[in-house]
Amino acid sequence: MASTAESEAAVSLADVTKTYDMGGTVYALRDLSLEVPRGSYTAVMGPSGSGKSTLLNLVGCLDTPTEGGLTVDGADVVAMSDRERTRLRGGEIGFVFQTFNLMPKLTAAENVALPMVFQGVSRGERSTRAAELLEQVGLGDRTGHRPNELSGGQRQRVAIARALANDPTLLLADEPTGNLDTETGREIMALFERLYQRGNTILVVTHERDIAEHAERIVHLLDGELERVETVDERRTPETDAALAADVSGDGASGAEGETTAAAESDSASATEEA
């Protein structure tokens, strides 16, 4: 499957319709066709109720279309059993959530290793890979910390490392900066940029224009239908972001100062979240 899949799109939706029965048929998605090429960076935008979450659930193999075709990594998701779909999700999809969704009782390394547990990766291999991945996201010195001992940005880095654990076909991010302050959000987007540069396929769902502009193209959804696909001519990158940040703050806040503020803010954010 994987060998023939090389030429195919990472994800392909063909006339996908998703309806929910809520005392009447509600269309969450209607006749949506979309291809996510391998190695691409796509953003999905739209107001709430536009079908963003439904699209995310379908692409993430958490749900199945009511009608239409869906392939992930060349495999027909619609025809799959629940078991096969879970296996595909664990192996080929990496989730990054707005609220991080780390296991609170597990350490950073254990969280990163978790997806490998369910794919039958050996214990030794798991811990080696988890350490590598945490090193990659800049948390090599935080492997033994639990989520409540980490700042918001650090938590999201752990979540990204976890998403990469099984070397998935697609990295699926749902408002990845939604619970972070601007500076930390920028750092996370810089991390996504690096992953994109290294060949990962990324799909980001967001309602923020400046986050979406990091992608190559933006898919606009409205009322469950594809409104338009916009190609981003001038992609935002960490460099342009930094320049922009310097402009806004005038004299250009020092990096160290910015980081302290970011950590403090994200700490208070996480405190609220836990309460």
Partner: protein
């Protein structure tokens, strides 16, 4: 997911709620401990009551006239409610039956106290028997008493109950229930204190044996001969061998029911019990089994409560960890992975509870038997059963919550606050 990993994750979940897990485990501990304590107590009680008597029995038929319902249902134990209907004449006639080796009347003389060397101890009765009755009991020292004498044989427990130990040649003073006293000379001390027959009960207790013809005074006018003669409540008929025992049992019964003095003396509502030693032991055993079964049943109820505790806490735990379950499913956990995780968690609680409960139960059994002065007897097979049941309880109690957890929808779970 490999089993070791699920153990590790389940253990970490248990440890993250130490108090809650400990209390849940305590429920199982109490249940298992109660079961172990009661079965130990039951086995020890059995050992105390039946003791060595459970082994090879002499070919003896025990005879008494007891209340119809008690004899019929086998309740009350050997000699329960026995009436003085078996005359000396009956004893002589029974002795002449085919296959009978000897007939030994067994009488009890009511007393209030025994006195030796100025030390007076309470005693509710002494045993009046023929010399033949004691013949098979090995002597520790001295000799057996002779008929018609004021001699006595003591068992070691009886000899040791005074300030100074009774020895052969000692003089004992016996205070009878009517207040009069009798002096006896101790001529022998038995080797062991175990019961010499079913009518004594089966326990190890102090006993004084005296000649029946000297001390036993209950008499009646014999219906067939019109003579005044001794009358007994209980007698033991010894057959010539085990082969002859069933026939002897039948002959004794038909003699008693047809032309004995006893048949004429027996009050209405009373019937003859003609039981071999084996039957009596089996009867007591079944009584004790019933008793043990009953208290163990109550103990099992507490184990049931413990298992409900596990189920309850696992249900709470599943609800509480809905979001975690959603995360696990999102990163590729199969339904059976989630099922396994929660089942393992419940089983760990059950297993720990079973092991601790067994230890506590052993301690409890030991404490109870030493308090009641029973010989400690551990029913080892029950320990195995208890541990197995504890784990089974964990699995069963965890089954429904785990199944619930495995069926959670990942999308809903991730949204759960």
């Amino acid at each position: 997911m490999e089993f070791v990993q699920s153990l590790r994750m389940a253990w970490s979940a248990i440890r993250s709620h130490k108090l809650r897990s400990a209390l849940t485990t305590l429920g199982v501990v109490i249940g298992i401990a109660a079961v172990i304590t009661f079965v130990t107590l039951g086995a020890s009680l059995q050992a105390a009551v039946i003791g060595d008597v459970g082994g090879d029995q002499p070919p003896v038929v025990n005879v008494w006239a007891g209340p119809e319902d008690a004899v019929g249902s086998g309740q009350g134990g050997p000699g329960f409610g026995a009436q003085p209907v078996l005359t000396q004449h009956d004893v002589d006639r029974l002795e002449r039956l085919n296959g009978v080796d000897s007939v030994d009347p067994y009488g009890r003389v009511a007393t209030t106290a025994l006195e030796y060397g100025g030390d007076r101890v309470a005693s509710d009765g002494i045993v009046a028997v023929t010399p033949a009755y004691l013949e098979d009991e090995p002597l520790g020292e001295g000799r057996y008493f002779e008929s018609g004498t004021r001699e006595a044989v003591l068992n070691p427990r009886a000899a040791e109950q005074f300030d100074t130990n009774v020895t052969v040649g000692s003089e004992l003073t016996i205070t009878l229930a009517n207040g009069s006293t009798r002096a006896v000379t101790v001529v022998g001390i038995l080797e062991e204190s175990t019961s010499t027959g079913p009518f004594e009960g089966f326990s190890t207790s102090p006993r004084v044996y005296v000649p029946v013809d000297t001390f036993y005074t209950d008499t009646v006018t014999t219906p067939t001969t019109g003579e005044q003669a001794r009358v007994y409540r209980t007698i033991s008929v010894t057959a010539t061998g085990h082969g002859a025992l069933p026939d002897v049992q039948d002959r004794v019964r038909s003699y008693l029911e047809e032309d004995s003095d006893a048949a004429q003396l027996v009050p209405s509502g009373y019937v003859f019990a003609v039981r071999t030693n084996e039957e009596l032991v089996a009867q007591i055993q079944s009584l004790l089994d019933q008793l043990t079964g009953f208290v163990t049943g109550i103990a099992l109820l507490s184990l049931l409560v413990g298992s409900i505790g596990i189920a309850n806490i696992m249900l709470v735990s599943v609800t509480e960890r809905t979001r975690e379950i959603g995360i696990m499913k999102a990163v590729g956990a199969q339904r059976r992975d989630v099922l396994q995780l929660f089942l393992v968690e419940a089983s760990i609680i059950g297993a720990i509870g079973a092991v601790l409960g067994t230890l506590l139960g052993i301690a409890g059994g030991w404490a109870a038997t030493s308090l009641l002065d029973f010989p400690l007897e551990f029913p080892l097979e029950w320990f195995g059963i208890a541990v197995a049941v504890g784990m089974l309880v964990g699995v069963l109690a965890g089954l429904y919550p785990a199944w619930n957890a495995s069926r959670l929808d990942p999308i809903e779970s991730l949204r759960y606050e």
